[in-house]
Amino acid sequence: MADNAVLSRRSLLKGSAAAAGAFTLGFSIPFTEAQAQAATPEVNAWVVIHPDDRIVVRIARSEMGQGTLTGLAQLVAEELEADWSKVSWEYPTPGENLRRNRVWRNFSTGGSRGIRESHQYVREGGAAARIMLVQAAAKEWGVPEGECRAAKSVIAHAPTGRTVTYGKVAAAAAKLEVPKEVKLKPASEWTIAGKSVKRLDTVDKLNGKQVYGADIRLPGMLNAAIKACPVFGGTLVGFDAAKVTGMPGVKKVVQVDRRTVAVIADHWWQAKTALDALPITWDEGPHAKASSETIAATLREGLDAEQAFEGNKAGDAKGAIASAAKRVEATYSYPFQNHACMEPMTATSLWTPEKCQFWCPTQNGESALAAAIEASGHPAAKCDVHKVHLGGGFGRRGRSDYVTQAVLIAKQMPGTPVKLLWSREEDMLQGTYHPITMARMVAGLDKDGNLTGLHMRISGQSILSGVNPQGLQNGRDPVVFQGLNPGGQEGPFGYGIPNLLIDHAMRNPHVPPGFWRGVNLNQNAIYVECFMDELAHAAGVDPLEFRRKLMRNSPKHLGVLEAVAKGIGWGTPSAPGTAKGLAQIMGFGSYVAAAAEVSVSNAGEIKVHRIVAATNPGHVVNPDQVAAQVEGSFVYGLSAAFHQECTVKNGRIVEENFDTYPAMRINEMPKVESILVPSGDFWGGVGEPTIAVAAPAVLNAIFAATGKRVRSLPLKNADLRRA
């Protein structure tokens, strides 16, 4: 019934040995020996064209729902002058990238960088292939190349009326030299890019055929369930394997690393059942007494600390605040959160004394490969990863801890493929969490209500300290200042404040941090945009008007804010019982804003009725998919704002599943209106930035509705009942 999901061992080994070719790694397409033998030569690294005109575009970045796959294929197809209806895709393997001198460049899929970082070279890849196809046709006809034109996969020579399809000349084109320099079309001439074409990866998601990591089946494969010490920093002392080895299906109980044990069984449910019954002794380590309270105390201390890293400085903020007519102060906080991908972490590995193959959903095929090389003990040339679509990523699958585990487990079963799947509970307890921070916002207003000075002190966790300490700059973590920077393309601060100090007292709890979709922009936007709202009210000025004055030199920041203000009907009376709120930020290279309309019942129940978003990502490759990212970003951001918090008790995370860590559901979903205002002069990302404006727009609307200012998330902890 699900034969397409099963790879024969022969094809598997053949596939690993296959050179560039057209080895198809999308497991949804049945892979046969015949296909491997009939491998079509590529025109160049990005484009394979079959004799029957089918086009396969190579996609290096991972698809996790964000639509990058379709967008990148559109960009290649645009320059290729392809017939879009003939276009499909495949993932090259990271091992192949290594062997070919990184011809596909970066595989990393995070930071909303999939398209904005690679649009230039993938378009050049498409253009180069088109030039080669035209050259091949011209050569065959004996006519000047300049007299030939390509459109919709057909090359035409007008003077003689001859035409030929790409498939007929692809083999000849493949033998030509790849042109070094190509000219790209201006966006104004796009016919495939810039259009809302349908996604290339929808069909198999409608009938159960899409094979995710959790669905991989290999001949003779066993399944593993895993448990790491629930206290971060703790270790595994021992386990009593004899208690479970007689249980149904159990093959082996193995120590994976110094803090982790796994049960290997015929079926995963058997492995999990045995693991739950396995007596395990942990050394809970130095953090066994840590709690949310002790962590909060550490962060509070940082709010007043002398030493802090500067992120943005102008004038003399502290002096200006000291001499201000009015001083406004507020302290905000943002909790740990788990990514909670719908598909828990999973990877499948086959280790033999000669080589190591593995299959997994990953946001970074190359770092997954590096992790497997290290864990396998084999040289790089003997390892490769076969990527599959992700059941959600959100930053979590940029880490390769589960890949390392899968290889370490498979290594203890040489010659037998083993699929590791985390339980939801393991996924919740062994996350890399949204960093926890607090911020003390202090501002001075002059007698006319003008903002004369702002000091924003962030206290809390640094992601880079946890995941990539070599990325620190003299101890300073630049990621902390997302959206708050004095300049640059990534996330400059939009407000012109004469005396400004934004600094960070780094306080790193023992809970491991990670890049969580939207990253530090999420809490920075809440801190800044809610406090701007507070300042506007303190000054007695309309929140939009208050911002306008400060954003004179940031027209793009202001542009999206004005767009949502117009969209929500700012300045016009709200429907009875409802109120409006606004927020803007710049991050991941794009300008975003949101305006929300909410009501709060007497019982304190919040309803978001409408939310309007505006995005200026510079260029839009697929408007419908950008709209999907905006809608999805509101769900991710509002789930976090309303419901999500990972608390700590006895050194471990308390929330283990969706019953205590809820996500927003359809009944809470507001109507979303997405306005795209691309200015055409840069390339920004869209997978993340809108998340950051979801919460502050709603929090500001809640204040407008109730007069209550919520400064600590999630909202489930806030009491908004009317007295």
């Binding site: 729902g65 009938n207 399944n223 598909e343 059941g391 419908d624």
Partner: protein, 149 residues
Amino acid sequence: MARLNVNGRVVDIDAHPDTPLLWALREQAGLTGTKYGCGIAQCGACTVHIDGEPVRSCSVTLGSVTPTQKIVTIEGLSPDISHPIQKAWLELDVPQCGYCQSGMIMAAAALLAKKPKPTDADIDEAMTNICRCGTYNRVRAGIKLAAGI
């Protein structure tokens, strides 16, 4: 050994009666379209139909299902993506990562079978599945498109 009727076929499953139906379907019957998300009937990724009712298969044991009960999984909803919900989902490009969508589609199909013209309140009540990518508004639009409303 348990005997099940899955997608109109008789399937014999060699697993402990306490095994959740979800895992019997995925591991023994090879029907991996039905997904594991939480194991506690919270997320709905494992939704299948039993005699037309949407059921969270992670929380139903193999032993509690009789051989005559008709189980339908995403693989059996239609032979060719021709169910109105599947057609609407394709038309609106509903899925993002798609992992939750088997369950979403099964829940939506069960809703339409009972209420061919569901109201927004009906949709809110029936569609309690979690989607982390945030496809909810397209799910709602897809149900309405399939229902012709």
